[in-house]
């Protein structure tokens, strides 16, 4: 228990759309990680994950991802999570718009 806890965000994929989503402080889901609840306490993080897992009708595959606090809110720390935020690197703006070849 004494080990320092790396802050987390709860993330998952939207059941219908498949998008990467993050859980906000009021228990809703956002597509913007900056609006996610920043979890600094291990027990609270576990509890929020349990809450997420209790919503199988909305989301798929919830887990806790490491995060750090940026200017606008939580930001990913691992490159995998960065790609989940930014979308594929081989197309410009393909996450939320139409694909265009680089």
């Amino acid at each position: 228990m004494s080990r320092k806890f790396t802050p987390k965000v709860v993330t998952a994929n939207d059941l219908l759309e498949g998008d990467s989503i993050w859980m906000t402080a009021d228990g809703e889901w956002t597509r913007d990680i900056a609006k996610a609840e920043y979890l600094e306490d291990a027990d609270h993080a576990e509890a929020r994950l349990k809450l997420a897992e209790s919503q199988p009708g909305k989301i798929v595959g919830a887990y806790l991802a490491d995060a750090k606090l940026g200017e606008n809110g939580p930001e990913p720390t691992h490159f995998r999570e960065e790609f989940r935020v930014s979308g594929p690197s081989n197309y410009t703006s393909s996450k939320h718009g139409a694909a265009s070849h680089v």
């Binding site: 759309e17 594929p88 081989n90 694909a99 680089v102």
Partner: protein
């Protein structure tokens, strides 16, 4: 081409209806996610990093122009205007929405296609030689057998929940273009002493975490025994395969742990029982399937136009030399359309490009296209006189890159740009290598070279069998790329050996450049390929090029 029977048609429609129901039941809670997942996977639907992904089967890699147009339509209507052709001759859509998937499957059924068993712990889409029915070296077109296997394996009641996925590849040629030794079962057409054709059956090959070369379990299997023998192998595996550890669940481990002799005994014993349960109807069905794969009605026409253009136009000549190979018919060629434009995503095609390729196939390739495991599209039956016109249209569609089999014709899995399992990106590495060697203008000088990149240990990018293999890993939160050397996926099969410590994402492309420039220095002449030079010289001179500092250090110390 094979035409769906009424039975196939009804079956596929029924499956679409079932899946539509399963999606509804997932949403209403009748099915838990744990229960739904294998069902969606059985229908080709994954959940990736950013979205669902639908993997559509292109059975044995063969498509008609109508089917290719429908793939374009699906990309445009339900995706973001592109699709990704894979090393298993499938096409993947990266952005479908769960509720749209039944409609996408229905659109596929309209053109006799489906996504059944492109995923899950079941027998996957059967792959084959992309030049089947056209290749000069072919004993027999393997596709009727592949179609028979497709029908047998589809919805096979025993084999939908195997210990792990199960991949079968089949080739009709002595030159292996289907990587049969890296499959759970590989089937290679062979002749026995009596001159009859049958199959050499190879079992327990695979790449992934534990790469293994398949072993011959039966030297010669009469063609009529194909289905009962496959059924015997898979049923033995279903009971014997490990279910306690997914990394030890593939048949390659079952064979390894139990020994080939034990597996062979069990299979042969089971085969006699299974054989008796087949009444011979399967052979009648095979006889009905065979005429669906006829030789094309060849055009009788002069090839002068081709010769003239070949002599006059160096760009065309380069494309012909690189992207076409000999056809069974001397007036014909097999043309490969590269989906590896320098700097583009390997295997991706836009809906417009798919339509153009469909149009070309309809006009010039007896309405046929093929998807190759090397992520290119093939026009299998092109009369040589049509090659100039095809090339001109490919130039206009941005599809005329003359690099098939060269350094920039790279296999790359989607990697961490899309894949939930990936540990690093693959696509940008492929893009950068291709761009770099295009700048160096050394591609044709280097000659035949297969670079294959996987973004995780599961090896969808076949890195173990690349002459140069690149494996992307996550090393303490940073992308790290390991190089393997000397792999070979053909009849001279070899698993590449790890060269040494990995490279960061900024170091990997310069490392590949050093490696290839060293090869140019080391080779005896321009006919000696990278793989031949590696086999002659061993790994050391190549490692020296990869790790110059280590080399310097060693000399210094000595």
């Amino acid at each position: 081409m094979y035409k769906y029977s009424d039975f196939d048609e009804k079956f596929v429609r029924e499956r679409v209806a079932q899946f539509r129901g399963q999606v509804e039941r997932r949403i209403d809670g009748s099915l838990t996610e744990d229960e739904f997942k294998p069902l969606r996977l059985m229908n080709g639907l994954y959940l990736q990093l950013h979205a669902y992904m639908l993997r559509v089967a292109v059975p044995y890699g063969t498509l008609s122009s109508r089917q290719m147009r429908q793939l374009a339509y699906i990309a445009q209507k339900w995706d973001k205007g592109y699709g990704h052709f894979t090393t298993r001759q499938n096409i993947q859509y990266n952005w479908p929405k769960l509720n749209d998937v039944p409609d996408m499957l229905s659109a596929l059924a309209d053109v006799e296609m489906h996504a059944i068993q492109t995923s899950g712990n079941t027998i996957r889409n059967v792959t084959s030689d992309q030049f089947a029915g056209a290749a000069e070296d072919e004993i027999e077109d393997p596709r009727p057998y592949a179609e028979l296997i497709r029908q047998w394996s589809t919805d096979h009641p025993e084999f939908q929940f195997l210990p792990r996925k199960f991949k079968i590849a089949i080739t009709g040629s002595p030159n292996d273009r289907a990587v049969v030794k890296a499959h759970d079962i590989g089937l290679r057409m062979a002749r026995n002493d009596a001159g009859e054709t049958g199959f050499e059956v190879i079992v327990g090959g695979g790449l992934g975490r534990t790469p293994m070369e398949g072993k011959v379990v039966r030297e010669f299997l009469p063609k009529a025994d194909l289905l009962p023998y496959l059924e015997a192998i898979v049923s033995v595996y279903n009971l014997l395969g490990r279910r306690d550890n997914k990394y030890k669940a593939r048949i390659k481990i079952t064979v390894h742990e139990n020994g080939l002799e034990t597996i062979r005994d069990l299979v042969e014993q089971e085969f006699t029982v299974r054989r008796a349960a087949f009444s011979g109807i399967d052979q009648e069905m095979l006889a009905e399937i065979k005429p669906a794969f006829p030789k094309p009605t060849y055009i009788q026409a002069p090839t002068d136009a081709f010769t003239t253009a070949y002599d006059a136009d160096p760009v065309f000549r380069s494309w012909v030399d690189t992207n076409t190979v000999a056809h069974q018919n001397g007036d014909y060629a097999i043309a490969t359309i590269s989906l590896k434009k320098h700097g583009a995503t390997p295997g991706d095609a836009t809906d417009a490009q798919m339509r153009e390729m469909a149009d070309l196939a309809e006009a010039y390739s007896h309405d046929e296209l093929r998807v190759s495991h090397e992520q290119n599209i093939v026009l299998p039956h092109v009369h040589k006189s049509h090659l100039p016109a095809i090339h001109a249209r490919l130039v206009a569609a941005d599809l005329a890159t003359a690099n098939v089999g060269l350094v920039s014709d790279i296999i790359a899995c989607p990697g961490m740009d899309y894949c939930a399992l990936a540990t690093a990106r693959s696509i940008p590495v492929a893009q950068e290598i291709a761009t770099r060697f295009d700048e160096l203008k050394l591609e044709h000088e280097i000659g035949a070279l297969k670079i294959k990149i996987s973004g995780c240990i599961n090896a969808c990018g076949h890195h173990h069998v690349g002459h140069i293999g690149i494996l992307g890993l996550d090393r303490a939160g940073v992308e790290n790329y390991q190089i393997t050397l000397g792999g070979d996926g053909t009849e001279t099969f070899a698993i590449g050996q790890r060269a040494g410590p990995g490279f960061s994402d900024t170091e990997i492309v310069p490392a590949i450049e050093r490696l290839i420039l060293a090869y140019l220095d080391l080779r005896e002449n321009s006919d000696e390929t990278f793989l031949s030079a590696y086999r002659r010289l061993g790994a050391d001179p190549f490692k020296a090029a990869l790790y110059p500092d280590a080399e310097k250090g060693r000399k210094h110390a000595a």
